[in-house]
């Protein structure tokens, strides 16, 4: 198939790929610094550290390796939680202090909002809740989930709106002030991601007729109408990740045909799409650097007890 490139489409390509062997990195502390730990047989117990990509220096963050770390957009705080659920730690990166919150994480990757709130799902005696953690004060607002919601896979928030994808593949939207009133519901959703401005919603629909998934981008309030044509169709699409400025969407795609799987980038302004790599890992989050010029993908072989080596790959764009 011949590409039909628009003349005004910006050229997005990879300038450099840097690979950090035996290293798992979860997020960016700045455009040159990452939160990482070395994960190999010889260093399985090493704590998370700050890794300087320029000098290669490491500085311990004092966070044990069984936690995973997500840094706030303004890089002042981080949240750490166990992969399989449990304690949630709120870390003040500037002061090097952390507090353990009374809420128990379900182990889902939560989301930072641009005003310093972290939204995640927690386990309570009376079921799952959404917790909105204010990083500045450490206060937590608990929101009971609507009855229709099954076990939560992913949650995001913007302003007073909460978007929840549950295990029965429903994407539900409701207000923090009225969680029992569902604003809209979309079925057969495999993944979603709200742009930083909240103006665009990317989501993936399971098409049971073709056993494929379709990627859409639309205005969040038009989701239920689902009138837009899909951006792409593949066997599996996931790990949707908006750039900090919301002008690009990265995602992973997996297909049974060789050469088509990989990580893609869509320009929100032009719609031009580029395959950045033919390496796809549907379980590896794609994490943008603060300046939107680099993408971080960390992989770990979680399945083999004796071979859990990790690799972090950084894609630098031009």
């Amino acid at each position: 198939m011949e590409p039909t490139t628009r003349k005004d489409a910006p050229f997005i390509s990879v300038q450099q790929i840097e690979r950090l062997d035996r290293t798992y990195c979860s997020d960016w502390l700045s455009n040159n610094k990452l939160t990482c730990f070395e994960r190999g047989k010889a260093s399985a117990d090493e704590y998370w550290h700050e890794r300087d990509l320029v000098t290669n220096e490491k500085k311990s963050l004092g966070i044990p390796p069984y936690l995973t770390v997500q840094v706030s957009p303004i890089r002042q705080h981080a949240v750490a939680y166990p992969y399989y659920g449990g304690e949630i730690r709120l870390i003040n990166l500037e002061q090097g202090r952390s507090i353990t919150l009374p809420q128990q994480s379900r182990g889902n990757r939560g989301t930072w909002t641009d005003n310093g709130l972290y939204v995640t799902t927690t386990v309570r005696e009376n079921g799952n809740h959404i917790a909105i953690i204010d990083a500045a004060t450490g206060s937590v607002t608990d929101i009971p989930l609507p009855q229709q919601v099954q076990q939560v896979q992913k949650v995001q928030a913007k302003g007073e709106w909460i978007y929840v994808l549950d295990q029965s593949s429903q994407l539900l939207t409701f207000k923090t002030s009225a969680p029992t009133e569902i604003f809209q519901t979309l079925a057969n959703v495999a993944d979603f991601s709200l742009s930083p401005s909240g103006q665009e919603l990317a989501y993936v629909i399971n098409d049971s007729n073709t056993s494929q998934q379709k990627l859409y981008i639309t205005s969040p309030d038009l989701v239920a109408r689902n009138e837009s044509p899909p951006i792409a169709r593949m066997k599996v699409i996931g790990q949707l990740s908006w750039s900090p400025t919301g002008d690009r969407l990265a995602f992973m795609s997996l297909d049974l045909n060789q050469g088509v799987s990989g990580m893609y980038l869509i320009s929100a302004n032009t719609g031009s799409t580029t395959q950045l790599t033919n390496q796809a890992n549907m379980k590896a989050p794609v994490v943008w650097s603060p300046n939107g010029q680099q993408l971080l993908v960390s992989e770990s072989n979680e399945y083999d007890y004796y071979n859990r080596d990790s690799i972090t790959t950084i894609y630098r764009l031009k």
């Binding site: 198939m1 011949e2 590409p3 039909t4 490139t5 628009r6 390509s13 990879v14 790929i17 840097e18 950090l20 062997d21 035996r22 290293t23 070395e38 190999g40 010889a42 260093s43 056993s211 859409y216 981008i217 639309t218 205005s219 837009s228 044509p229 951006i231 792409a232 169709r233 593949m234 066997k235 599996v236 297909d255 049974l256 045909n257 060789q258 050469g259 088509v260 990989g262 869509i266 032009t270 719609g271 031009s272 799409t273 580029t274 395959q275 950045l276 033919n278 390496q279 549907m282 379980k283 590896a284 072989n301 399945y303 083999d304 007890y305 004796y306 071979n307 080596d309 990790s310 690799i311």
Partner: protein
């Protein structure tokens, strides 16, 4: 991949956008985006394996154009599927001398390390698709049935062609089929790497542990300890020394104190907290059979400590609490110092 190549209204700003993914463009992106000249690799210095092919620039070259190792090294950077890597390996290995074959094998093993995280992540993703749920029987994914599904047959069989083998932990996963590698390539590579492959094939065929429990007998574990020791000491410049010492460390810890749940006389054996006689006899047998080995030296030292404690490993627990109390101080000291002793004996 089906590309939706039409203009669409998909933003609130009603921007009209043409979507432009094309197969030829994709192929171009792969070449320009993933070329070897753009890849920088950083490894933790302490974890570098002797003789690994981590840095292509450090590979033996010889005649650049005809050196099969160099050709393989260049070609494998563009490959993401294990079966393609094996096809490449097969294409070049017959032309390689032992040195080049070793270099190729180490690069192939590095390929597996790089690719297994995504191979297994993607396998899990595929297995979770709605049309694959019919192959889950009693909570376990039936790979053999799934391989009969025309939609997935080629993809699943390609994994096996890549000399990967199915295993099971919490879920089905793929791991390197060292037995297949040993069978097909042992004659091409050096005795050093061939021995390494044999050890890995043995470990792969019957794992030391599964579901957190030991799966092999004490005799088999003793044999594996000696095999690994003979590899490390038998090849002064062993190319996989660090990896084998890692394995040795796992083995010796299990041999000395990993059996504590079925090696100590506790509630089922009169609560003496003593090492069971058959375990002690096994230690003595190893020392007797391999008296000059470093493993025998470690085990002999442990037997001295055991005898000093009259075979008692643990103190009795407190009434109303755990049956088993603290570890005897000198026993604990021996366990804690085990890695230090291994490092001293093997010159790490």
């Amino acid at each position: 991949m089906n590309i939706v190549n039409e203009q669409s209204k998909w933003s609130k700003k009603t921007a009209r956008i043409a979507i432009i993914i094309g197969a030829s463009f994709v192929a171009l992106s792969l070449i320009t985006g993933c070329g070897n000249d753009k890849l920088t690799v950083k490894q933790p210095p302490a974890a570098n394996e002797t003789g690994t092919a981590a840095n292509p620039a450090e590979q033996p070259t010889g005649s650049e154009e005809q050196n099969p190792a160099k050709q393989f090294e260049l070609a494998i950077t563009e490959v993401k599927e294990a079966h393609e890597a094996i096809e490449l390996f097969d294409k070049h290995i017959s032309k390689a001398d032992k040195k080049a074959a070793d270099s190729m094998f180490l690069r192939l093993e590095q390929f597996y390390t790089e690719q297994l995280p995504s191979i297994n992540a993607n396998l899990t993703t595929i297995m979770s698709q709605a049309d694959m749920q019919k192959y889950i029987e009693h909570g376990i994914f039936n790979i053999e049935k799934a391989k009969q599904d025309s939609a997935y047959k080629e993809w699943l069989l390609n994994q096996e062609k890549g000399k990967l083998i199915w295993d099971w932990a919490d879920d089905v996963f793929l791991k390197v089929d060292y037995a297949a590698l040993h069978k097909d390539y042992a004659n091409y590579i050096s005795a050093d790497l061939s021995s390494y492959l044999a050890i890995q094939a043995n470990e792969s065929a019957e794992k030391l542990m599964s579901d957190g429990a030991l799966k092999i007998t004490r005799d088999e574990l003793a044999k594996r300890l000696i095999d690994v020791e003979q590899y490390v000491t038998g090849y002064p410049n062993a190319q996989k020394k660090a990896a084998m010492l890692d394995l040795y460390s796992q083995y010796i810890h299990e041999y000395i104190h990993g059996y504590r749940y079925n090696a100590i006389a506790d509630e089922t054996h009169n609560d003496t907290m003593k090492l069971l006689p058959e375990v002690k006899a096994n230690y003595e047998k190893l020392v007797q059979q391999h008296p000059t080995s470093k493993t025998a030296q470690i085990v002999s030292d442990y037997l001295v400590v055991i005898n000093e404690n009259k075979d008692v490993i643990y103190n009795q627990g407190e009434p109303g609490g755990s049956i088993r109390g603290d570890i005897k101080p000198t026993i604990k000291k021996f366990w804690d110092q085990l890695d230090v002793q291994v490092n001293q004996l093997f010159g790490q």
